[in-house]
Symmetry: C2
Subunit: 345 residues, 2 copies
Amino acid sequence: MPDLTPAHNRRIVLAARPQGLPQPGDFRLEHAPIPEPQEGQVLLHTEYLSLDPYMRNLMDEIGPGYAPSVELGGVMPGGTVSRVVKSRHPDWREGGLVLAGAGWQDYAVADGASLMSLDGMDRPSLALGGLGMPAFTAHVGLLDIGQPQPGETVVVAAATGAVGAMVGQIAKLKGARVVGIVGGADKRRYALEELGFDATIDRHDPGFARQLAEACPDGIDVYFENVGGAVLLAVLPLLNLNARMPVCGFIAHYNGGADLPVAEQDHLPQLLATVLQKRVRMQGFIILDHYGPRFDAFQREMSAWLAADRIKVREDVVQGLEHAPDAFTGLLQGRNFGKLVVKVA
Amino acid sequence: MPDLTPAHNRRIVLAARPQGLPQPGDFRLEHAPIPEPQEGQVLLHTEYLSLDPYMRNLMDEIGPGYAPSVELGGVMPGGTVSRVVKSRHPDWREGGLVLAGAGWQDYAVADGASLMSLDGMDRPSLALGGLGMPAFTAHVGLLDIGQPQPGETVVVAAATGAVGAMVGQIAKLKGARVVGIVGGADKRRYALEELGFDATIDRHDPGFARQLAEACPDGIDVYFENVGGAVLLAVLPLLNLNARMPVCGFIAHYNGGADLPVAEQDHLPQLLATVLQKRVRMQGFIILDHYGPRFDAFQREMSAWLAADRIKVREDVVQGLEHAPDAFTGLLQGRNFGKLVVKVA
């Protein structure tokens, strides 16, 4: 069998910090020598690359505490399913499949300690989605912060996305009523028929806020915040007393927040009034903080749900590393349908 | 001794819903017959009336869940120290002193079940402040939501006010470093010398935000939110990872939010970014929810602190019911110095 792997490392680096939505010129595809692992390291070949909204934040200059910004000229970061092609670490054999953070490139060297084995996994790309970071984010945010009770109403936006679809399905398994906000008729149908949500709203509909109110006749008990913007503003008047709002992201603002209906108005007083009057608990969380104490419990529960077909996973697979920038820009606009991964090798 | 109590009931009613800061014409002083208690009721004569910022919210038309709006023509509500002058309830003897919610008037009838005895209390007006709702608000918000740890930095605004002074002093007793935001040199001196705060900032100072940063070299772990506006915007960049923000009020916005430096800008994205990146927990609370499970524990602890002079209380006493509207408007502008009460009888 001929060796089809490239003799060099293709890598996509940050060429410029985006103004608003990332443009093709903000990325640059480079060719570099394949790196050599040192003692204690392995050389990884990327099979699948995960694309996730948080990456947009890392393209900006940001302060300490979140995650480090990507340097200009630096490789775009990201979770990967990778093959060990050379090992200088006793724990990792060549040919094994691992979960790594190799970023937007064909090859990377990694410390052995930073890897997780995926050997024996039927569908290893799930390690980037349904059994990985996005589903773990949904699990921690919804269950630990949102704490939905049977019969309560849970609202989630981007509801067919990697995180949102999990939030809604886990909430259903916990006995909640789930209202999903999506973009487009196909996604509405999928959320209702495949994911089993109780109602869906199309965020592009001009009557969106009224429809959300109609879909939540008993108000909203848990709003899983991953978009902000117009969705958040429509949610605020519907929140019930003692509502919970896990804050996982706010993709509507990542590129400048142009979707806000009245962008020149200050909505901070409205948020404060709601938080006070409705005794809302709002809590930001970054999933990286929770791996140690919480990941094993998540993986056990989610594996069982997937095996029993109680949770459905949909992947949106893009072929070829060179298409990662386009696919990523589409993700920020909601063009993907399911967990977005790039098949690299 | 001649009976100097009026032969009619003076009461201050809501004449118009305020636009921004309440104006004299938004209130009306009326004279009405003294009401008669029915079986199971008592007639109360107001000795002290509490004035508190939350009353401003009740002057607006507000949705369900917070507390009912005052009707146009309705008596302004408020906590009172009242004397039982007629009793048709077996538990209450005439001449006894009680904590009640008689509102801005000389006389009121009340159900016996809604009262708390203040007999034997040396300084009964404390039931409206240091041993009452404002101090209880500070205790619940700071300890249950804020959870300051020894060595952490706690920031509180309106820091010589009824709630703020308690927040700062309780935080000191729990071993935190306390930075108080006040208006004016007298209040700075009082907060430093009498209340024992570690640093104070004058909110009128043009260099306010920079000074706050300098006063919080280790960042902010707990921000007790009772003002919003420019103070909140100065606090946001200083919050530490896992900071807590009990939301008790936001007086800067009650009259339209004119103190915001850039009012035409939407600060909601900045708040969301901070909550997410710093994993902030923000939680609104309304003290009325907490009396049942929590008030006794508060009163025991606070009584002991007051008896041991570990907590100081300052009252700003206004003489005469007719001055309540002016005094209340002053409260909203920070003109009071200490817990504001009106000596009615």
